[in-house]
Amino acid sequence: MTEAMWLIAAMMTALLSMGWLALSYESHWQQVFPKSASKPELKRLKAAGWAGLLVSAVCSLVADHPSMAVLVWVMLLALASMTIAMILSRRPTLLRMICPPFFVANA
């Protein structure tokens, strides 16, 4: 059960991080928000995205044997990126949920 919880955590953080990384690109930001983002905001999003990916890797390592965890993590990144790309192409405004105002002023 604990293993499943860690895997869910790894999946959720991967998804969240990929969302932040996507929003750190001006073109995707504009798909989601009416106002432009400032450069520091985009930088913050990028940093949060990379940090989140690290957290996701740690969750995978806690859940599984390292040899297995590395495979799980790499594949989770692929799934998360694809999910974010599909959200951006169909319902981009859904990504507003992952950008609370205290995190990005223009959100």
Binding site: A22, L71, M75, L76, A78, L79, A85
Partner: protein, 566 residues
Amino acid sequence: MFNSLRMSMGWVHTWMGLVLGFVLMICFFFGALSVFDREIDRWAIPDTRFEPQPMPSFDEVLKPVFEQLKPHPLDMAATAERVIGPLPDPATMKLESVYAYTTHRDPVLRIGGEFGIPNQPKDPADDHLHVHGWATVNPTTGETLSSDALKIGSEWFYPMHFNLHLTWKMLGYWIVGLAALVMLAALVTGVIIHRKLFSEFFTFRPWKHVLRSSLDLHNITGVVALPFHFFFAFTALVIFASNVYLPLSYTMLKSLHDQHEQLEAERTGLPHDKSGVAAQMASVDAMVAEAKRRWAERDMPGEVGYLFIDHLGDENSYVSIYRAGSDRVALVGEGIHFKASTGEVIREQPPRSVVSSINEFLTGLHLQHFEHWMLRWLYVFGGLMGSICIATGFVLFVEKRKAKHAKACSQGSRIVDALAVTTVTGMVMAALGMLVANRLLPVDLVGKGQWEQNIFWSIWALAFLHAAWRSSPVAKARHNPAWRDQSLLIGMLSLAAVVLNWITTGDHLIKTVFTDTYWAVAGVDLSLLATSLIAFYAAAKLRAPVVEQKKTDTALNRNKQVNAYD
């Protein structure tokens, strides 16, 4: 020649990708299905729908089964061609070695053995002559399964992805190997020609023109799963490198290999040859218990994955017991070897060297016998990403050129499009048609498995004829309606397979999911339903260009008529 590196790489990517893309499509699609090959087996052979079993007792269950094992007629015929003189009567052949293999997903057990023969080989280098026998056993009863019951997942879809069922001179292995090599080249060239690898990492614009949106999808499915694509193409080559592609130890270095075999036997204490002195076998169950005790002592308790006995009935006979690698990437390991006549431990496999561990990891990550359901589904996702990447590559090729080809009255785009339809939707139809046939053909039909195989190839051939017949609009720079036709058929076949499974076995989804849960069959049924929904959705979407095209054609005709009156 080309003016820039990017253009040169673009040429390589396009043409090599196109030529071997048809093979890669087969590898990726059937590879994705192979992740759940055992589950597809359960769906196809309802008699085996029970819980996975650990390795059964050798002394009570397997020993009597091995005593009944006979040389397989297929291998008798194959061996007869390699030897001088007629082979002895199969009933008189003696078993020399046996094996049993199981995984955490197998309710049934694969067993086999080698029967010794006195014949000399036609080729003097062919020095390991045996006739093989094999069977699938129900470990709960000890009964063997009918060989007419084709395991569609593990004996048809799985080999299709690495040998295309072209076994003559191992041709299929070579074609797939070449395709894997080209895949690696396509990945490298793809990265070089991709202008905005990072900034378009999340970009998919389905509302844009088909050329743009299919390029987006091609890029995104190629890039997000790039590590998966790379490692699977690479490990595919690693797996077959030493025995198929570069079999140096069987050819140029044969004498060195033979000498190494002898030296290793001396080093490990596992006899290379028989002694010629007959001996009884001690209890194998006791050896299994000892092996499990030693694994538990090393803080890695586990079940037996592979059991092998060599030099049966001889003083030099030994029993090798390997732990199932369900909890790690490697397939099996931690082998413990016993002297068969006494049951004493001859050797405990030491920890692997770095090179051996890397090799085990690379092959294990591809063959994935581990018990990690999430990772298994992620592999299916990776395989489907590869399939979409290749399919959109075909679409791009045609969309880029069809107007030009139409002007030049060339059939190039039409041919590629027809082949693409055959390899993308036609292949899915063939796989689904096989499942439908499996449920419709009587269980006791002689050669049922062969019928299923014939139906698979026939549907695929018909899909090609249909695609070729319907593809004439492509030569006029229009859309091929065969994509929609075959999507509709996929939707119907998937639905039919689920309904037929219910009618012929009584295993409907309410039962397999809720009342008498059996995820192997439920998973296949749910995947079929999902396929059906996606196929109907795709068919509905593909209707739009056809309707638009008809409107355009009508408008054009009207204009022509008006012009004619003028």
